[in-house]
């Protein structure tokens, strides 16, 4: 049987269980698309910008935990994809980006649409592969999936010159799938390196059982390792309060009394103050990011520190620990839960309750229905627990993190590490494609939504159950806030001169659009719109001077937050 490189790529992707690929065709990846046309297993999602394609793949990967695929052509196609790839790197999202390259014979000649894809990939991928012959595909493709998903996940680029896609090779028997490349997350996680020894477990248990005021600091590692249920039982058994990073939201039910909410820069006052009191910080699946820890030297000043993460390079990177372990959290929790004592911790819980009461989160009066925190909260009360929320970047993102009642893992998709405006809409499309039975809500700002607005066309093509809510303050709100608080209210380039009519824009893309401009009853209308399951855009005007509070000033310790005073 004769097969072209392009056909081999598509068939290997089918073998990996890939059923959707987002991308845009061009000169250098046409042979791959030609082969894709013949596939009845893979649906191609035509994005309108490669960054959109990258984020659509992220939406699939972030909700399923498995590597998703995007395609781009050489040169400009690759360049447009890079932001979404860097975003995946910083949030540890498994992605396989397959890019067309100009023919091998022209590489290095500054040919039309040539860029050094692998060179560009180095600092923003887990690894990159350059394919120099069709037969190498049998090794490289499965290997790329393994690298993307194994250990700490991340993006991989495979760059394939056009002549390799066209190369015809004779294949007697199709190589059997390597069992080691079976795409089950469990297998990857159970590799020897990720297992903790009995002595490690004993030592951890001893530290926790001996602690008076332990506190769990959890992050994205909990959802990556699929250990939220174990975490819950673990925290409950020993009565350990739980603070989460932005990436960990949803891994612990937000209505549980042990839950302390998000820590760090925009955490509740009590959360950051309780962190000051703990004597044992149990850091699971986190990386001591500066937005979470504030001034690192003053983070949890009274605590011994336990750190468990799958990536050894994260241990002792930003903060030295008393005990650290490079391991899969789930395997650790599996054992550890047996070795920790049942404990009510009445004293510690009482202290926490008191701090919670004395330093509450500054929620606004209910009557202020257009306050973003109230809007987010009421959206949360109207939809199912399994609704997927995507955000863009800015104030609206932090309001979602502060006020939305997340109950389940993988229900918040947000650009945590790179903070990429334009993330929300295409990621929502990917999430909806991978979860046809769930509702997806994209909460955006009037700045961010314009950064990948073209994907409304993709959404119209696909007619997915996505509600886009634009909290419209007429400014680049988060930056305006920084200018107000830390640059003496010198406002430059944060207020928009003109404001597009988003509801009409949506209609012109073929999607329903609503404007709440003169709406006295936002809750009622929201309820009605959210009960539908069709794509739509809702423009909600909000006050442009509203700030995200509390906030930790740059360089300050978390307990030095401002704006945490009590509100009636």
């Amino acid at each position: 049987m004769k097969c072209s490189g392009g056909e081999i790529i598509i068939r290997l992707l089918e073998e990996q269980g890939i059923d959707k690929i987002a991308g845009i065709p061009g000169g250098a990846n046409l042979p791959m698309y030609h082969a894709l046309a013949k596939s009845d297993k893979i649906q191609h999602i035509l994005a309108r910008h490669e960054q959109g394609a990258g984020f659509i793949a992220q939406g699939i990967a972030r909700t399923t935990g498995k590597a998703a695929v995007c395609f781009a052509t050489s040169g400009p196609g690759v360049m447009n994809l890079l932001t979404a790839i860097a975003d995946a790197k910083l949030d540890s999202i498994p992605l396989v980006a397959i890019t067309g390259q100009i023919p091998s014979s022209l590489v290095g000649t500054d040919a039309f649409q040539e860029v050094d894809t692998c060179g560009l990939a180095i600092p923003i991928t887990k690894h990159n592969f350059f394919v120099s012959s069709a037969k190498e595909l049998f090794h490289i493709l499965p290997e790329a999936f393994r690298v993307a998903e194994e250990g700490r996940p991340g993006p991989v680029i495979i760059d394939i010159p056009k002549d390799v896609q066209l190369e015809e090779i004779e294949i007697d028997i199709w190589p059997a799938k390597d069992r080691n490349n079976e795409r089950s997350i469990d297998i990857y996680m159970n590799n020897d390196k990720a297992i903790a020894s009995l002595e490690d477990i004993d030592q951890l248990a001893e530290m926790i059982n001996g602690s008076k005021k332990p506190l769990l600091y959890i992050g994205g590692g909990i959802l990556q390792s699929n250990s939220h249920k174990l975490l819950y039982d673990f925290a409950k058994k020993n009565s350990i309060p739980v603070a989460s990073t932005l990436m960990g939201l949803g891994c612990f039910p937000s209505n549980d009394p042990l839950y302390l909410g998000m820590l760090g820069m925009h955490g509740a006052p009590y959360t950051n103050l309780i962190l000051n009191e703990t004597d044992l910080l149990i850091a699971f699946g986190v990386r001591f990011d500066d937005r979470a820890t504030g001034k690192i030297a003053e983070f949890c000043p009274k605590a011994s520190i336990i750190h468990v993460d799958i990536d050894p390079a994260e241990l002792d990177k930003n903060k030295s620990t008393n005990f650290s372990l490079a391991a899969d959290i789930r395997l650790v929790l599996d054992e550890l839960i047996l070795s920790i004592e049942e404990n009510q911790r009445e004293g510690w819980i009482k202290e926490i309750t008191a701090i919670k009461e004395d330093y509450p989160f500054p929620m606004k009066k209910k009557e202020d229905a257009y306050h973003p925190l109230n809007l987010i909260k009421s959206i949360g009360s109207m939809v199912e627990d399994d609704t997927i929320i995507t955000t863009d970047v800015g104030q609206h993102q932090m309001w979602v993190a502060q006020a939305y009642p997340f109950q389940k893992p993988r229900t918040l998709l947000t650009s945590g590490g790179l903070g990429t405006m334009g993330f929300g809409l295409p990621t929502a499309i990917g999430a909806a494609l991978a979860n046809p039975d769930k509702k997806v809500i994209c909460v955006s700002g009037d700045g961010s939504i314009l950064m990948n607005l073209q994907e409304l066309a993709t959404l119209a093509d696909l007619n997915l159950n996505i509600t886009i809510i634009i909290l419209n303050n007429g400014v680049l709100g988060m930056v305006r806030q920084l200018q107000e608080l830390f640059f003496q209210e010198t406002y430059i380039s944060t207020k928009f001169v003109t404001n597009p009519d988003f509801a009409s824009i949506a209609k012109n893309f073929g999607i329903k659009g609503y404007d709440f401009k003169n709406n006295q009853e936002p809750e009622g209308t929201l309820q009605k719109i959210l009960s539908l399951s069709e794509p739509c855009v809702i423009n909600i005007p909000i006050d442009s001077s509203e700030n995200v509070m509390p906030t930790v000033p740059p360089g300050a310790a978390n307990h030095q937050m401002i704006g945490g005073k009590k509100y009636a």
Partner: protein
């Protein structure tokens, strides 16, 4: 003879064109200092040996852990019995002395 100011990190790496840029790229991206590089192919194998001269500061463990994560890096160790004069000789060559 090991010195206190510098260390030599010894690497075994896959021998293909992108490896060197992956390794030097790591040093740039993470703002690690890199004072010198020696590299050569091991006979009859698909691997090369690399020696990196780096400052011996408190980031050395982090450098090693990050190197270990690179796909084409097969082995990483701090070289305790390396001859540091090799790099001195190169230094002289470069300074034209």
């Amino acid at each position: 003879m090991p010195r206190t100011t510098d260390v030599i990190i010894q690497l075994t790496v896959n021998n293909h064109p992108g490896v060197m840029s992956n390794i030097t790229g790591l040093f740039t991206r993470r703002a690690f200092n890199l004072e010198g590089i020696l590299c050569g192919r091991l006979e009859d194998t698909k691997t090369s040996k690399m020696y990196l001269l780096v400052n011996n500061d408190n980031r050395i463990n982090q450098i090693i852990k990050q190197l270990e994560k690179l796909y084409d890096v097969l082995e990483v160790s701090i070289c305790t019995n390396c001859d540091y004069e090799v790099f001195d000789n190169i230094h002289q060559l470069i300074q034209g002395k």
